[in-house]
């Protein structure tokens, strides 16, 4: 993500209801609005009571944007954080790029929110200077007041809001230097906590417009099967069932309540065609991926002599790593509520991509965008699943057939698990050439997997183009390590399974394989895994470039070294581990922006339940350099979240048999539970003086699993190269 896109912004006064101050900020990089006039991408209002409202377009799905974004605004505005509320932006002119994903909420909102706060503060000060008859330079701002220290007089922002609206808008509002921050960088608890602990918070399934009907859809049991015929007679006899409607994705049962819709769906008699993918099996697919990495794929990075250098090395190591399909498995299944009326449509969606929802409605219903209102609700977990609009499409297909009545399209747990899109399975083959002195002189990483195909299937040309292929090989092509000869490649292996974004997208499997293999090299060469990594990052070797540049973005190896040194120090790396435990280490640079390392202490868990992890992670130490930290409390939450997500990746998998997704419940796809939670998870932030915030929610996932796998290999002598981990793998 290029920061330059969002850096320039401009501010205008907007009409304010009730005579307060309203400012719009339009970032120069935002996509052009079709409508003429000024359409801001962030809107800030201060009313006469001093209530501050920021309308922003980031969806809250647990990452804490409803806390961290107000912090940025309150900082530049010198407002009391408690007086700032966030209003969820709906798609519209200006609000034309509302997506939430890629761990980018903070970095993409940073400039506009600062500009808005700084401009408003300057205008409030100018209004106060006029009112008090003093120079603006004699005034200070603090906690929602403009103060005049010499006289002790003060005016609240509410009192000044109307006058401030008549002040000229500063062309370049002065932003605070980092050293002057009072709020940013201090831990702040979730501002929306009270709503979440009282049941007041409204998620997608909690939308309750008057007269709401519920709908469930019966979908094909096997990939690609089609509806041949159906008999709805029994379904229609279920009390509360109103309609049974065929839609493109299946047969919808519309009822007064969810229970009636569930029973009605069960009573449907459905005839499906054979699946064109009836022979598809995920185990066979994994074997196919393994075969694919027996040969090099499309080269996406080549340093020095590339793979050719392997042949000349004194010693060669090789390993294959396998990673399964995965599901998002948010506790709130996807849903969408829609009301289609004559010439207009209202949608309530727990969406990460509300503009796409609006576009979809305009296309399906033939309405102009101005007639489609999309309200974004809270999301009961997102993780990339809600970047899809398949559930919105179903809601609209049903709602248009019961026009005038709102319909909530509900997915059951099984629907959510089996009919979503998935993290792609992958195979990785790594090879290293070691010279007589034990140095790594050659490196090869081949990945075979399936790119996203749920929304659009890549063309054959894209599958062959190094530029597009590289975009599917995060964690492979952007390895931070310096090896004089290195070659990375990727081979597309198609699968009939829908594949789409997932937390950390293409990275988890790549980092699991790469970091696990680095640990294998350490063992084979008798080196300490920390020392080996520091060497590969150029410690003490001036011939290794400090900066690795790829696609115009820079990886600073010194930053990753500092993170590794920090995590080692905090974890007591090098001291003997407690009896019965072993330590493991892994690191990563996510998207060339966030530098992170984990050290874990792991013990075996004998007699663990069949569904439980066969080991326990007792302590996790994380060191991270994620640039400027807005809310350290939020960062610590996300580290804990990433640890548990990654442990789930070591525990559960989606499998496919005869073209059908097998797992439909939490028993079949068991995610990490409280009794598998490490007793200690520590976060240590490393400050490199970076002036900008970077992503956190995805970077925290990747290096945890390989650190655990490395510890397991110390404990058992067994190298975990395939997930999920079963007890038998460690025996």
């Amino acid at each position: 993500v290029s920061a330059a896109i969002t850096r320039r912004a401009f501010v205008q006064v907007m009409a304010a209801a009730g005579g307060g101050l309203a400012l719009g900020v339009r970032t120069a990089g935002a996509r052009g609005a079709a409508a003429p006039g000024f359409h801001p991408s962030v809107w800030l209002g201060i009313d006469r009571q001093g209530t501050i409202v920021a309308r922003v377009g980031k969806s809250e799905m647990g990452q804490g944007v409803r806390t961290s974004l107000p912090m940025i605004l309150a900082e530049e505005l010198d407002a009391d954080l408690a007086s700032v509320t966030i209003e969820q932006a709906s798609p519209g002119p200006g609000f034309d790029a509302l997506g939430t994903g890629g761990s980018g909420s903070l970095m993409r909102s940073w400039d506009a929110l600062r500009q808005a706060g700084a401009a408003a503060r300057q205008m409030l000060v100018a209004a106060a200077a006029q009112r008090l008859g003093v120079a603006a330079g004699a005034l200070e701002t603090d906690a929602g007041f403009v103060r005049h220290p010499p006289s002790g007089r003060r005016l609240s922002y509410g009192e000044l809001a109307a006058d401030a609206a008549r002040q000229p808008v500063p062309e370049r509002p002065a932003l605070k230097p980092r050293a002057s921050f009072r709020l940013i960088g201090r831990p702040v608890k979730r501002l929306d906590g009270p709503d979440l602990v009282t049941g007041r918070a409204r998620f997608g399934l909690d939308v309750r417009p008057r007269g709401l009907l519920r709908a469930l859809v019966a979908r094909p049991p096997r990939l690609g099967a089609k509806l041949v015929s159906f008999d709805a007679a029994a379904a229609k006899r279920v009390r509360g069932v109103r309609r049974v409607i065929e839609i493109p994705s299946g047969v919808a049962v519309v009822a007064d309540d969810t229970w009636a819709a569930l029973k009605g769906r069960e009573a449907l008699r459905l005839v499906w065609s054979d699946s064109p993918h009836a022979s598809f099996d995920s185990d066979e697919h994994l074997r196919g991926l393994e075969e694919a990495v027996a040969r090099p794929g499309i080269t996406i990075r080549k340093d020095g002599a590339g793979r050719a250098a392997l042949a000349g090395a004194a010693r060669r190591l090789e390993a294959v790593y396998l990673y399964p399909f995965g599901a998002h498995a948010s506790v709130e299944p996807v849903s969408c509520t829609a009301l289609v009326e004559r010439r207009r449509c209202t949608i309530w969606s727990p969406s990460q991509t509300p503009n796409a929802v609006q576009r979809l409605a305009t296309e399906l219903l033939g309405l102009p965008a101005s007639a489609v209102k999309v309200h974004v609700t809270l999301l009961g977990g997102g993780f990339g699943r809600r970047l899809g609009v398949d559930f919105d499409r179903e809601a609209l297909e049903v709602a248009r057939r019961v026009a005038g009545t709102p319909v909530q399209l509900v997915w059951s747990r099984e629907d959510d698990m089996r009919h979503g899109y998935f993290q792609a399975a992958s195979a990785h083959r790594l090879a290293a050439g070691i010279d007589a002195a034990g140095r790594v002189v050659a490196w090869e990483h081949r990945k075979a997997s399936t790119p996203h195909n749920a929304r659009r299937v890549p063309t054959d040309e894209e599958k062959r183009s190094p530029d597009s292929v590289r975009g599917w090989a995060w964690g492979v092509y952007d390895s931070p390590y310096h090896v004089p000869a290195a070659e990375m490649s990727y081979a597309v292996v198609d699968a009939p399974v829908p594949i789409g974004p997932w937390r950390s997208v293409f990275s988890p499997s790549s980092v699991f394989a790469r970091e696990g293999f680095v640990d294998e090299i350490a063992v084979a060469t008798g080196k300490d895994p920390l020392r080996l990594r520091l060497e590969l990052l150029g410690a003490g070797d001036p011939s290794v470039p400090a900066i690795y540049t790829i696609d115009g973005e820079k990886i600073d190896r010194a930053r990753l070294r500092r993170v590794l040194e920090t995590v080692a120090e905090k974890a007591g790396w090098g001291t003997p581990p407690r009896p019965g435990t072993a330590r493991g280490l892994a690191c990563n640079v996510f998207h060339t922006e966030t530098y992170i390392a984990y050290v874990v202490e792991v013990a075996l868990r004998r007699g663990a339940g069949a569904a439980d992890l066969p080991f326990s992670v007792e302590r996790v130490v994380c060191a991270m350099d994620c640039g400027l930290v807005v809310n350290p409390a939020g960062v610590a939450q996300q580290v804990e979240s990433g640890v548990l997500w990654s442990l789930s990746n070591m525990k559960s998998a989606i499998t496919v048999r005869s073209g059908a997704i097998v797992e439909g419940t939490y028993q079949e796809f068991p995610v990490a539970m409280i009794h598998e939670t490490p007793a200690v998870i520590e976060t240590h932030l490393v400050d490199s003086g970076d002036e900008r915030p970077h992503g956190i929610g995805e970077p925290v996932v990747c290096p945890l699993a390989p650190a655990v796998a490395s510890a397991l290999s110390r404990l058992t002598g067994k190298r975990v190269r395939r997930l999920p981990v079963r007890a038998a793998d460690l025996a």
């Binding site: 602990v197 049941g199 007041r200 009636a260 709130e332 409390a633 939450q637 979240s641 409280i674």
Partner: protein
């Protein structure tokens, strides 16, 4: 289809729905108490836990027919203003991420903490061992549970 009487958060309700309807859907779809969450409908995730005469039950596994005559507490009844010791502990430990699974977690703990003996960390893990939080808020749930227990836990 007989009418059924039951008490929710201290208020008596007479309902006229299918006897086999799970309490979950009565609460959410008929009575509009959306704080009780749907996560699986099969007793595997714990998002719908409510108190039945003080004991934790999964609202997706209790039918309206079975619920007749009984008294239930949902998250809305724990306290509307967040003043219950478990709610306060939740805020102090900054537990919630997306927050969706939390009502079920809190009510499970309310049942645990209503017992005479203060729970150990292992008791907390056992009580919540079949509650799913996909965001991974477990470390803070543990801390909040023990904090609430120390403050009396609502007994």
């Amino acid at each position: 289809m007989p009418r059924r009487d039951l008490t929710i958060n201290g208020k008596r309700h007479r309902v006229d729905v299918a006897d086999d309807m799970p309490l979950l859907w009565l609460l959410r779809d008929v009575l509009g108490l959306t704080g009780t969450k749907y996560g699986c409908g099969a007793g595997q995730c714990g998002a719908c836990v409510v108190l039945e005469d003080g004991a934790a039950v999964r609202a997706c596994l209790v039918t309206v027919g079975e619920a007749a005559g009984k008294s239930y507490t949902t998250i809305e009844g724990l306290s509307a203003d967040g003043s219950h010791p478990i709610q306060r502990a939740w805020l102090e430990e900054d537990v919630a991420q997306c927050g969706y699974c939390q009502p079920g977690m809190m009510l499970e703990l309310a049942a645990l903490l209503s017992r005479p003996a203060a729970p150990s960390a292992a008791d907390v893990d056992r009580a919540l061992s079949d509650h799913v939080c996909r965001c991974g808020s477990y470390p803070r749930i543990r801390r909040a549970a023990l904090r609430a227990a120390r403050s009396g836990g609502g007994r």
